[in-house]
């Protein structure tokens, strides 16, 4: 297999290491500064322009970091007092950066016709962009966190900003979704914090304080940790994080928050927040696995994976509003990722990487498509879309690219990644689990395909609508996403056996 990435030459490596600290500081400082500065903008248009400029800079900085991390594979590019820039952080940083800049661009189209909001019309752009940038900054910091406790603090910090964004419309249903999100995820994370305190105590007093919970330190001490206590702590951490990842059965907030949030925020929640929190669960698994044994950990991840698939699939067959359908698809895909991490073979991990990236592109496009869809027909907020191919062929094309990719129709990278994960399960000797998952994924594919065909061609004949500017933006994004998705499919064939996968097998260590 091709070696996808090689370590950087020594001189270049030194340059990268030296530059990483300031680059990380700048990546986080730009969106945080933007969150403050948008409040000073005199008009909503000026806030839009400032946000676009700072978002472009943020994404460029984050992608530079991601490139440095992936280029250094299988080595760790840099490690600082609180951060680690390894391949895993590189992959997830890239995903968060791409979804973030796309959401920033699409926010302009959303806000132009958003109507009523939680805030006054004059200040709504400023509040939206302030919360958006804080949320994005924390999401960018999360994959870099080199410490379980710091990761927990960052995950909890996402809640406040993102909850305001979920309820941005100020509608009763949005308030319900935002409230459920705040309460359930905060309680879930309290359970995770209990687990983290137990791990801290179990690692013992070696004078290193906070450093006891660094991924590397946890891995080094894992062999000395008591099995039962560590398993108890790990279950608490995983259950707590599951409430934020949206794994069944602790997923209740997910369909509501994703469907009620503004579409660019739904994209960030589904394509960036859920996988990034999943990365922390994954890093915790890898760090504590020597103390737990692979069997127990594997069962937990597979349990969450199968439960998420079982809960999600029936909803993919139901006539749901477009964004709600995408929300249940998120539940399904987080289940697939849980299975991949649970199987833990090189093939499955390669599948996980492609799945994270492919899901992010396809799901974000799907949510952005809701902007013209809701603008052209307000009823699609509460009812399934119907006959879109007749009324808006461009929107229909974007919906097709998104949903066929999410369903796993070849040549979607999600088809390849799901096959890799299932084969990885068989490689791990879990034929029955892989078979059950294959059946569930096939049912999910049929459900999504059925929903898409109904959405495109079902219902009564409606009038053909003139494309708005948001439709033109969606057409452009759909084209870019389609090319990127095909590119991911090509990468998927070269990924197993690469340095990237080798590094991911021991992320954080």
């Amino acid at each position: 297999m091709a070696r996808l990435a090689r370590a950087t030459p020594t001189s270049c490596g030194h340059f990268v290491t030296d530059a990483v600290g300031p680059l990380i500081a700048a990546t986080l400082a730009v969106p945080l500064s933007a969150a403050l500065l948008v409040g000073l903008m005199p008009t909503p248009g000026a806030a839009d322009r400032l946000n676009l400029a700072t978002s472009t800079l943020t994404a460029a900085l984050a992608l530079a970091l991601a490139a440095a991390a992936i280029a250094a594979a299988p080595d760790v590019a840099s490690r600082g007092s609180w951060y680690v820039l390894d391949v895993a952080s590189g992959v997830f940083l890239a995903v968060v950066a791409v979804v973030g800049i796309a959401s920033a661009a699409m926010s302009v189209f959303y806000l132009r016709h958003a109507g009523r909001s939680w805030f006054t019309a004059r200040r709504s752009h400023a509040w939206y962009y302030a919360a958006f940038n804080i949320f994005w900054a924390v999401l960018l910091a999360l994959p870099l966190a080199d410490n379980l406790a710091i990761a927990w603090l960052l995950i909890e910090a996402t809640t406040a900003a993102s909850a305001l964004l979920v309820a941005f419309s100020g509608k009763r249903s949005a308030l319900e979704a935002g409230w459920k999100y705040v309460v359930l995820t905060t309680l879930g994370l309290s359970i995770a914090l209990l687990g983290i305190v137990v791990v801290y105590v179990a690692v013992g007093s070696d004078g290193s304080g906070l450093g006891r919970l660094d991924w590397q330190a946890l891995t080094q001490h894992a062999n000395e940790l008591p099995h039962e206590l560590t398993l108890f702590a790990f279950v608490l951490v995983l259950v707590g994080l599951a409430s934020k990842i949206g794994w069944a059965p602790v997923h209740n907030w997910l369909p509501d928050a994703h469907s009620e949030a503004p579409p660019p925020v739904s994209a960030l929640l589904s394509a960036a927040l859920l996988p990034t929190v999943l990365l922390i669960a994954w890093r915790t698994k890898l760090a504590l696995e020597p103390a737990l044994g692979s069997g127990a950990v594997q069962k937990l991840f597979i349990g969450f994976g199968l439960a998420s698939l079982l809960v999600a699939i029936p909803f993919l067959w139901r006539p749901l509003p477009w964004k709600r359908l995408l929300a249940y698809s998120s539940l399904e895909h987080m289940g697939v990722l849980a299975l991949g991490i649970g199987f833990g073979t090189t093939l499955a991990i390669a599948g996980v990487v492609i799945h994270v990236a492919g899901h992010a592109l396809a799901k974000a496009l799907g949510f952005y498509t809701a902007i013209p869809l809701l603008r052209e027909d307000r009823r699609t907020a509460d009812a399934p879309a119907r006959g879109i191919a007749r009324t808006s062929p461009t929107t229909a094309t974007a919906m097709s690219v998104s949903l066929f990719s999410l369903a796993g129709l070849p040549p979607s990278p999600l088809f390849v990644s799901e096959v890799m994960i299932l084969l990885g399960g068989m490689q791990a000797g879990l034929l029955a689990v892989s078979s059950i998952a294959a059946v569930l994924l096939a049912l999910g594919f049929l459900g999504l395909a059925h929903s898409l065909l109904e959405g495109l061609f079902g219902g009564k004949k409606g009038p053909h609508r003139r494309p708005s500017r948001s439709v033109q933006a969606i057409a452009l994004l759909a084209g870019i996403a389609a090319v990127a998705l095909l590119g991911l499919t090509a990468i998927a064939y070269a990924l197993p056996g690469s340095d990237i996968v080798e590094a991911l097998m021991r992320s954080g260590a």
């Binding site: 406790a149 935002g178 209990l194 137990v198």
Partner: protein, 205 residues
């Protein structure tokens, strides 16, 4: 920590589950945070940094957050007391059952203070039970605070304490979440004319 303080913490948690008035429940949670704060201060004697961190946490948990919730309660007057979904007796029995199961089923957590471990898990379970069983939004926020008090009890019982970065970080996140939850409480009240979260049941599949 002394057995009397641990008993007081758990009794105050149960009381939040039982009382109907939001004002009284806020006072009870404030008192719970005060007991915890005083315990933390006494454990930190002779360590100036830890003492300062404990004092900040006490002020925020026992004074600032209850003050914020009192302010929110005054801005969201209820035209009538929200009728509880269950009777006091049912709530008491359910809460006691949840707490007993949780406390009995946990293995020793390695703190060397088994009563504190049991009480911490009891408070966390009580907090979750309060959120599930109480309908007013403000009482649900208080449920979150009871659960967080349980975690804080565990944190101060750790030999040598937790690093202050974690303690202050958790406090910062808690302030953010409670502030946002208070804003939600106000907005929900404005939208439905009550803080009764049972009136928010539009999202069903």
């Amino acid at each position: 920590m002394s057995p009397a303080a641990i008993t007081a913490l758990v009794v105050l948690g149960f009381a939040v589950m039982l009382v109907r008035r939001r004002s009284l429940a806020t006072l009870l949670v404030s008192a719970q945070a005060m007991v915890l704060g005083i315990a933390a201060l006494s454990l930190a004697r002779g360590r100036p940094t830890d003492f300062l961190v404990a004092a900040i946490i006490l002020l925020v948990r026992a004074v600032a957050l209850p003050a914020l919730l009192t302010f929110t309660r005054r801005r969201t007057p209820e035209p009538y007391l929200v009728i509880p979904a269950t009777t006091v007796l049912v709530r008491l029995v359910l809460a006691a059952t949840v707490v007993l199961i949780a406390a009995v089923s946990i293995p020793p957590l390695g703190l060397g203070d088994r009563p504190a471990e049991h009480a911490a898990v009891a408070l966390l379970s009580l907090g979750i039970a309060i959120v599930v069983m109480r309908r007013p939004a403000l009482l649900q926020v208080l449920g979150i605070l009871v659960a967080e008090n349980g975690i804080y009890l565990l944190a101060i019982s750790v030999p040598g304490g937790l690093p202050f970065v974690i303690e202050l970080g958790v406090l910062f996140d808690l302030v953010l979440v409670v502030t946002v939850a208070a804003a939600f409480t106000h907005k929900i009240h404005g939208e439905v004319g009550s803080g009764d979260t049972d009136l928010l049941r539009a999202l069903r599949d």
